[in-house]
Assembly symmetry: D2
Homo-oligomer: 315 residues x 4
């Protein structure tokens, strides 16, 4: 999939750095201002700002205080609070032939953490370097290899009142770590501030549902998006649309709250845009919904609830 | 899919009733004793024992004190505590051309419940009768219709010490409401008592992930299974195997505990049966795992964590 | 505090064993049948059936499959389903001069558990023997000593449909581990079966809120209670009354569900018995409620919500 | 209780407004710079900036977009990142003879919320004006009255990286809503930025544990504090000390994570400052800890775990 064609406008290229923000903030200076309807190629660092590259390293010795550098903020022309930012994701390109995963102390889904506190010792620190094989798959071992499914772990807009860590997923998007923020999807985010202040980053060559150890196949990337706006109408939580499906990402703890958000918002979407009665919508997701876990490791856990776009049918 | 063939032994037919148990109990008299390796056809009532059949009814007036009648217990010859019961599911046949869903007061995923208590009024009671259409799909409205995916909402064995409601999913299986308890799957349950005391029921013509309103397309059914045993080795939580995947069902609250159980058990499975080092297994599910929500409505919530069966590959 | 007086009827003495139930079950043979209004002295084993008595022992080597032996069932004359069992607790006497606490693998509030699963090693097994000092306090070290506050960790009635482990607290009472099940309190439990089938056990010489490591000062005891009935009216969750306060014990996970249950039931109690409007009751607990954590270690966590008995006052 | 004495330095008076921050932010201009060791009297607005004063009002029509105006930031001379800010609370004075509580739509402990989403209608909006009676108690009805216990619902320091809503409690303190932030207590907060950037507000004339409906007796106030520093040593979560007890406030969801944080930090405190072995500390809180719910309504729930200061005793 590519945005390059004779009819397309020349893409705008956004190369951030060397100083990356580690927050979703309305108070930072935009690194670019872009119009609607034009492909924008955004380069992104990996979650460790490329400081982790060898299985000999120990994350606690190498990494700085903050994780997850973002490419942004990008000012979207015409975006006003109360609008919805529409992001068509044309392509997520991996710009490196290796990816890194690791154990970070007190972080992950199958360990105690700084919030789910125990008196146990943390898991041992480890680093894995996955290399792209000739068949295109990523591997560090003969036990298994990983089919690439490139997507952006983080994407979203600046919150209105708060400045949130790039490790946090919430209503504004952020660190959702859901595999449907990938090529071919349209994402919707709330516009909270003039210009929306779009950020993205945390490219994953692949990731299992839940991102169990907390660290996917972290890699540098280039994401190509085109921005649009729905004027005067906002979304409360991030939405995703594919050719077939509509989806909502809920982020909260406990995980059931994330699940409730995703499905309750989906009911609302069906009522607003598909002419459903509220109880019919509840029935539809009850019988046809799909729900997977995006992450079970971040400051909030993200759950994706989706359903096929309904098509009227004769009884 | 069918077990009928010239070489197959004649199936054993188990027709339960008229008195159905509403528990998973070791103290009940078996309704059948079956050998290993022979197809067993088990007829099942719907979750409302067929008392709900019209959209004019109000569940609170019609339904009795207990829900979810089970077909069982079935005594499995040769099963001893410490073994694993292997259940090959050949077929789930729907034995009715209509299914029922409903709102039950204080029950469901998008309402307060008897545990997630609020001071709000409950959702209005409602009943929907879905009828099978000429195209095979189920519908009650022109807004949407449902592709059948028949599966058993409940399946499992008697616990050791406790007698648990048929509405409860836990280590013994029970009311997991996960769509992979369907034709073509092999399920594994712990054997806690001599004869295992197998139960099943709660056939669903289809169900969305999470069973959002708490009631799927409830229907009568006939499930065809063949039993096997793994002697002297037990599973702690229910496992499922397809041609491609291995899966574990965790049931707990909050939902993240169900997710942790599913993935932690999956790590154990990879270590035990696939020769994985523990950290390789954690990496494998971190990068390749799939995780969906079975139910977010029952006394415990069920989450399925799965992964492709690993195949050694050259580096 | 004592029930012995010249006017009191002679107390009934209930000495259970040697075979103790490890469940709350309606299916067991009563060990005693007692009338209303007469003091009943019930002897209880400690949670380890006295098998743990030395800091040299390892719990995993010494303990059997089940924990928390109960004294019961005791058949209460006249109790019928739909009634409320009233239990006036006159005294909890410690019948030993030492108590035991320990680390049980994968059990406790500051460790991963069989439900909150992680890949970490469990905490080391340990046993502490606390001895009663001359000043009446319990101690094993010069770092601290413990003022006795004897109470019963478990108390309740048989559930209707299920047989539940004596480790489980729920609507029927059971393993709540709340310090207000002590002398001078009146407790209320639902009657689910004829005779109520009362059980108690798990005497604690003292316990901190939450029972953080999962094991209090476990000790043998003798509890003196007098039973009463409220006919034709039941409670949904256990209630406790002191001279000054009314309290409800909610048991659930996540812990906020236990908290919601306790306060929602308290609102109901104020409406039913104290003539409160629902919103006044909600205001009253919002401004005057007390809420402490009973246990954060058992199969459900128990939270106690209470408030002063309201007294009308001139404006 | 008063800081006025002949030897005391004259107190510094901080009167904020008219523009109040609704965040804990390092990026705002300090409203005052204060030295260590001098009493500081800080005036505070109520949580609704005094816009809610009649039971005829509807909060959704009257209130602005943000709640919980703060008095701050106050720059503390000499405070550097890595220090601990010590706050001795001498007095919390109520500066009004009435207080207000209310139902805010989709907010509170016994209602669905914007995170615990359901499809039910919200509770009806209501406002209650409590007036101080001649006996000093607050009341709006003859059903009950409330003994004042003035405390500050919010207090803390600016986070390092983020800007957080004044409705959020976390590691920095903030909207903890715990009744031990009152006169006679010493509170400890982390210093994350030069000058600490201290904020306080949300004075409560009284509040029940959990702040069940989400709104306490909200009132304007004047809090008198004296600041100190522990140089070169920080606390991870807010700590409180009284003459008898040490306490930690954990804020998280689910509520058990808040409880784990509070007790795990308390274990650490006993190890660091009282010479306890880790397992002795775990035993001490297991047998002697107290744990109450501060709030079950805010963006994170706050739980207070405390224990008597240990005193060595002869065996």
């Amino acid at each position: 999939m590519s945005v390059d064609s004779q009819d397309s406008p020349a893409p705008i290229v956004v190369k951030p750095g060397p100083d990356y923000p580690y927050v979703y903030s309305r108070y930072l200076e935009p690194i670019a201002t872009v119009p609607l309807g034009v492909p924008v190629e955004i380069y992104t660092e990996d979650a460790f700002e490329s400081h982790l590259y060898s299985s000999e390293q120990r994350p606690s010795e190498v990494l700085g205080k903050y994780l997850n550098p973002q490419s942004g903020p990008i000012f979207i022309e015409g975006a006003e609070p109360g609008d919805t930012l529409v992001v068509d994701i044309a392509d997520v390109e991996l710009t490196r032939d290796w990816a890194v995963s690791s154990h970070i102390p007190d972080f992950g889904g199958l360990t105690s953490t700084t919030f789910t506190r125990t008196l146990q010792d943390p898991l041992p620190e480890k680093v894995w370097i996955y290399r792209r094989q000739e068949n295109g798959r990523f591997s560090y071992t003969d036990k298994f290899s990983v089919e690439p499914h490139p997507f952006m772990g983080t994407m979203g807009t600046a919150p209105d009142l708060e400045v949130l860590s790039a490790l946090t997923p919430s209503k504004h998007g952020g660190n959702m770590d859901v595999r449907d923020i990938c090529a071919g999807r349209r994402a919707y985010f709330p516009v909270n501030v003039p210009g929306a202040y779009f950020y993205t980053g945390d490219c994953h060559a692949a990731q299992g549902d839940g991102e169990a150890c907390g660290v996917a196949l972290e890699i540098t990337g280039k994401v190509t998006v085109t921005f649009g706006l729905i004027k005067g109408k906002t979304v409360t939580w991030p939405r995703i649309e594919s050719a077939e499906d509509i989806m909502v990402v809920g982020s909260a703890r406990p995980m059931e709250d994330a699940a409730r958000i995703a499905y309750a918002e989906l009911v609302g979407w069906l009522v607003e845009d598909y002419g459903f009665d509220k109880w019919d919508a509840y029935q539809y997701i009850s019988q046809c919904g799909k729900m997977y876990v995006g992450n079970m490791v971040d400051t909030y856990y993200s759950v994706v609830g989706g359903v096929r776009k309904p098509r009227p049918e004769p009884l």
